[in-house]
């Protein structure tokens, strides 16, 4: 998915303009990211750039970037563009709770669930005001819209983060983030609780030169945070593949459903019985 086409060619003046913008941005005070992502994205996200999120882990990556941008922005919080606000446009299923679990401040988050065809205007209004806009554009945005929004983001120093199918066609994406491999931990066969996920995150594009940077991360870990993870020792044989064993009923395991433990035994509880009869 993340191949050579991840860095599409730009007209030469765009590159020059980028350099000027870079030079003018006081050494590139970027939009902050979560500490665990700093090895992947040193210096944070470049202010005014366009970031694409790709693949199956795009939702979690989007949540993590929003969390990083709207986490406590520190003393420079008042200075544009890093005012610590972020906005989510056209992603009604955005996991606010997950973002807060990763450290986002819900008081500095704006949600525009259903902008419909007005999404370019909404994004244009937001890039002037917030550090990071996460947006899912329709599949083929009009070239004029793409140019306008890219220019506005560059002008105001806001990071435009794209998700959804438009990532493949949007020109001028400076950075693509994708989860190439991932595995969840904690679930057994009828027991356990979903814990963390070990994810191999790849950053590619102008802002991650060369072959890109790769990192294993807990995205998220069992507490919902993002943390660096060590690579699985031998991924092919490291973890036995779970197989469905026929005939096994759900086992009353102490680990199954931690909050069920605290209550009375629900399986023979009063309301269960009444419904059965």
């Amino acid at each position: 998915m993340a191949d050579a086409s991840a860095a599409p060619s730009l007209p030469p003046h765009a590159a020059l303009r980028d350099q000027l913008v870079r030079a003018g941005a006081q050494g590139g005070q970027g939009v902050p990211v979560l500490p665990a992502l700093r090895t992947l994205l040193p210096g944070g996200l470049r202010a005014g750039s366009v970031v694409g999120l790709d693949g199956s882990g795009a939702a979690s990556l989007g949540v993590a970037l929003v969390a990083g941008a709207s986490a406590d922005a520190g003393p420079q919080a008042e200075s544009a563009p890093a005012n610590g606000w972020s906005a989510v446009v056209g992603v009604p299923e955005f996991g606010v709770l997950a973002a807060c679990g990763m450290g986002a401040d819900p008081r500095r988050l704006l949600l525009v669930d259903d902008p419909a065809e007005r999404w370019p205007d909404v994004v244009a209004a937001l890039v002037e005001a917030v550090s990071l806009v996460l947006v899912r554009p329709p599949e083929r945005p009009a070239p004029a819209v793409v140019r306008r929004l890219t220019a506005l983001a560059r002008k105001h120093g806001s990071v435009l983060t794209l998700t959804g199918p438009a990532v493949q066609t949007w020109p001028g994406i400076r950075l693509k983030l994708a989860v190439t491999e991932s595995e969840w931990e904690g679930l057994g066969d009828g027991h356990g609780v979903l814990g963390g996920r070990r994810a191999h995150v790849v950053a590619q594009g102008h802002d991650a030169p060369g072959a890109g940077r790769r990192e294993w991360l807990w995205l998220p870990n069992a507490e919902g945070k993002v943390e660096p993870a060590e690579a699985p020792r031998a991924r092919t044989s490291g973890r036995p593949v779970l197989e469905v064993v026929p005939g096994v009923r759900s086992m009353p395991d102490a680990r199954s459903g931690p909050d069920v433990r605290s209550g009375p035994d629900v399986r023979s509880g009063p309301d269960a019985r009444s419904t059965a009869s």
Partner: protein, 507 residues
């Protein structure tokens, strides 16, 4: 005491319907004479007479029905003639207008000169009139009614008024009672002690007493009443709904500020919208002090759109033609008990962000942009409330313990509506969960929506949740599962009433 100049046009209702002063004519309202010309008066026609009686006294009396619109319309010509010479014309009623006398008196070289000049101007415009100057409107009106009009010198109002009969106060009951007490002129009435008049005749009697003494009951120049909290916007040319909504927001901010200054809260808000075709849309909105400026604007928008959809034919412009004015009136006021909204209200939003949200709300409507509020709950979707920017959070936030809460980590994808799913066992039959939470077969395949089935690599559950079992209408019984699939996805599934849903995905 302000000097007032009054322009009075005699028998205005008759003039307005086009009856010449030299012709005996009368204007009738409700079967009685409302006004008549001087020629008719000479024949014995009087105001308040029945038409029959008037016609008996004056057989060739020209009778016309009263036309209030024409009175108002035509008097604007008089007011225009007056305002050619001096600004700040206040139309007291059709037939009578007043201006503060000081300015024109200084400019035109004395009150008498100004009086004559104004009289000539109005007569030139084609209307008979009298112009008087005195202290206060009441005395000035009587001065204008004196043949041709006079100037009552400053401080001379009481002396000027003294010989007039009590009937000029236009309070028949008071005049009748005082007449029986032997008080027949304003001078006699003015000589009574003010306190006793107020004690015996109340506020209205005290007002009449002040008039009789030549004191002002009210200032001539229009000033806003301080107790009136109504805010109003006028639109010229008529505005469309978007513009009206913005004006409403501004008005609401104004209103909230005034109310806050007075330490009061508005419980009910009356919104009146005047349309170009003369319709007035009036509606009361419950306010409870929790409506933000944007929420007020939204209600105005609702009111407008309700009118449009009600209108026959849905032909917007033809029917409603735009809004010409908008008025917000706090309907019921209560002392503010101090709800603290600075922690969450607009003050927490920085300037640029609030500008951006304003623009989005203009594009998408008030609910278009929201801020999340974390609350307690069991499922990941229940723990987030989306509050439109500008609104205060709901007051009744559920409080737990929450047995059966889904543990961390929280899912990254929480659809607003759970997606239907199909969960099948190794034998291909749908997995069922009994009332005792026994699972018919371990889940082996999960298909979300229309997508292809994914093999289950790990699962846990069921975690039963019985919510609001004490309230049969709102009770819900669910069992939740977490599954991971071979494709690397993890889902939070719920089965309710035999149907499987994806509540969230840990994508």
């Amino acid at each position: 005491m302000s000097r007032v100049l009054v322009v009075w046009c005699p028998d205005w209702p008759a003039t307005a319907v086009g009856i010449e002063a030299s012709v005996p004519g009368a204007v009738v309202d409700g079967g009685r004479i409302a006004a008549c010309t001087s020629a008719a008066r000479a024949e014995g026609v009087k105001r308040g007479q029945r038409v029959r009686d008037a016609q008996r006294r004056c057989p060739d009396l020209l009778v016309r029905p009263r036309d209030f619109d024409a009175e108002g319309r035509m008097f604007l010509a008089v007011a225009a003639a007056v305002s050619e010479l001096t600004p700040r014309v206040e139309v007291v009623r059709p037939g009578l207008c007043a201006v503060p006398a000081r300015g024109p008196a200084t400019f035109y070289g004395g009150e008498e000169a100004a009086r004559v000049l104004l009289q000539d101007a109005v007569v030139e415009a084609g209307f008979d009139c009298g112009v008087g100057v005195a202290d206060g409107l009441f005395a000035a009106e009587l001065a204008a009614r004196v043949q041709g009009g006079v100037v009552v010198p400053p401080g001379g109002a009481a002396a000027f008024l003294a010989p007039y009969s009590m009937s000029v106060l236009d309070r028949p009951e008071l005049a009748d009672l005082l007449g029986r007490l032997g008080i027949r002129t304003l001078g006699d009435f003015a000589a009574l002690p003010a306190g006793h008049v107020a004690g015996r005749f109340g506020a209205d009697g005290a007002l009449a007493h002040r008039l009789a003494r030549g004191e002002p009951p009210r200032p001539v120049a229009p000033t806003a009443a301080s107790a009136d909290l109504t805010v109003r916007a006028d639109f010229d040319p008529p505005a469309q709904s978007e513009e009206v909504t913005f004006a409403a927001k501004r008005l609401a901010a104004e209103l909230h500020e005034t109310l806050a200054e007075q330490g009061r809260e508005c419980v009910r808000l009356s919104v009146e919208i005047g349309l170009a075709d003369g319709h007035v849309l009036q509606r009361l909105w419950r306010h409870d002090g929790s409506l933000s400026t944007l929420a007020v604007a939204e209600r105005v928008r609702w009111q407008l759109s309700a009118w449009r959809t009600d209108a026959p034919g849905h032909d917007e412009d033809a029917v409603w033609g735009g809004v010409v004015w908008l008025e917000l009136t706090p309907d019921q006021l209560v002392p503010a008990v101090g709800s603290q909204d600075a922690l969450w209200g607009q003050s927490g939003v920085d300037e640029r962000v609030s500008r951006a949200t304003d623009r989005i709300q203009a594009l998408l409507g008030h609910g278009g942009v929201a801020r999340p509020l974390l609350v307690d709950g069991r499922g990941p979707g229940e723990q987030v409330i989306k509050v439109p920017v500008g609104d205060l959070p709901p007051r009744e936030i559920p409080d737990g313990p929450w047995p059966g809460r889904v543990p961390a980590p929280a899912p990254a994808v929480v659809p607003a509506e759970p997606l239907p799913a199909a969960v099948t066992g190794p034998d291909g039959a749908e997995v069922r969960v009994s009332a005792r939470c026994a699972v018919s077969a371990p889940p082996a395949w999960v298909a979300v929506g229309e997508a292809r089935s994914e093999a289950v690599t790990g699962w846990t559950g069921p975690w039963p949740v019985a919510e609001r079992w004490w309230e049969p209408e709102r009770a819900r019984r669910r069992a939740r599962f977490q599954v991971t699939t071979a494709a690397g996805a993890a889902y939070l599934l719920a089965v309710e009433g035999g149907r499987w849903h994806v509540e969230a995905a840990y994508e």
